[in-house]
Symmetry: C2
DNA sequence: GCCGGTATTGACCAAGCGGTTAATACATGA
DNA sequence: TCATGTATTAACCGCTTGGTCAATACCGGC
């Protein structure tokens, strides 16, 4: 009765991909061992052979989700912007676009997030991932604070980074729950106005145009 | 075998309270008919007698959660602040404090939120509740934009309100997942610095002191 | 070519789920 | 006081779940 065999790593990867598909489509509590097995066209016993407990599967999937969701990649175009505040706002805008275009991945992440308040291992994983993500923004935030000390009085780099992440998450969450009614361009413009309002005129026009074309 | 009887409304209230307790403590997927019945010290058949389907119970609980979570009440102290931007920031700060002090209620709300991306009735309920909440902020935002037209160029009242809600949710969510490591005072100060940085000096000190004592 | 280790399968289990229903005890009005 | 209606209970049903396990077919090494 057994079917074709495969290497340990191949099978785990296949099963994880199936788990990702199931959880992404139907939510984290539809992530049953049987559903994953069916999606991967394997017996459900085999899933539990490679991931001894369902918990292991859930945790492994979390790693995959975090790695693909909160990896901040900065384009060279952004780094080339002369003004620190422009760079900061550009990165925020990039992430708002990216995450709001992946509502299902974002929803899955938020389901893990809520799960984390009860499941300690999930909590620490989510926490550290977010902390790394925030740390990436802190780098930009520090430059902003050095360049515009008067603009953000009493604001720390950590606090500013936290604000940035909140704006990004808030945008993604809004886009997640009702994608059509949420006006992402308006939101992005408001974020820009709140965060990136400064004196230099020449550099300000660049991002404005970019926002218009993207929206 | 039957026990004491009670009026329709009394029982529904009792059951809903039990449901709230269960879901608040153990999460929304621990909200089983049997768990609610056990919590209320009733038979699980009785729960399904008053709420014909589990779905009805879940939806009724959602109404309760939304009513108690996103009801914006404005103190007269806030309304007495002369500067529109100060009022705006004060309301944001108040809500950050309130929601971050209720991590379990907030987690329950987010679980419903995530659930809403699959369950249409949940989605519309959550959506409209959030829309009302945002509308309350829009009132303040309009005053801000009238008072400080130069400060927020290109920003609409709706967009500014959305930013405010994002900051509040971001704060509450951070506080939800790891309450001790998250520095709410720093976050609040940053939000204040980003949003409420303006010229008038006398009115600015008030909120600063209030923040320090509350933190 | 065959042989041993193991990846794979399907049958099985107990537990828990939402939902139904007949029996029953409680309240209430006559 | 008694009859009637119904809120309440417990037993039950079918189903799904996570997890176990013996049987088995595949594959690499000899």
């Amino acid at each position: 009765m057994p079917g074709q065999k495969a290497s340990e790593e191949t099978r785990r990867e296949q099963i994880l991909a199936a788990a990702h598909a199931v959880a992404s489509r139907n939510g984290i509590d539809a992530l049953t061992v049987r559903a994953v097995a069916a999606r991967a066209k394997l017996s459900h016993g085999l899933v539990l052979f490679h991931f001894r407990r369902k918990d292991e599967l859930v945790t492994a999937l979390l790693d995959r989700v975090l790695a693909t969701t909160f990896m901040l990649t900065i384009s060279e175009d952004v780094l080339r912007l002369p003004n620190a505040l422009d760079r900061f706002v550009a990165v925020i805008r990039q992430e708002m676009d990216r995450l709001s275009q992946e509502p299902r991945r974002m929803r899955l992440f938020f389901e893990y997030w809520a799960l984390g308040s009860r499941h300690s291992r999930v909590r620490t994983k989510v926490s550290t991932a977010l902390e790394q993500y925030r740390a990436a923004f802190r780098t930009f935030a520090e430059e902003v604070l050095q360049t515009h000390p008067a603009r953000f009085t009493g604001v720390t780099a950590e606090g500013l980074a936290a604000i940035a992440v909140s704006l990004i998450n808030g945008c993604a969450v809004q886009a997640m729950i009702d994608p059509e009614r949420f006006d992402i361009a308006e939101y992005r413009a408001a974020a820009h106005g709140v965060m990136g309002h400064h004196e230099t005129r020449a550099v300000r026009r660049g991002p404005r145009v970019a926002a218009a074309t993207l929206a």
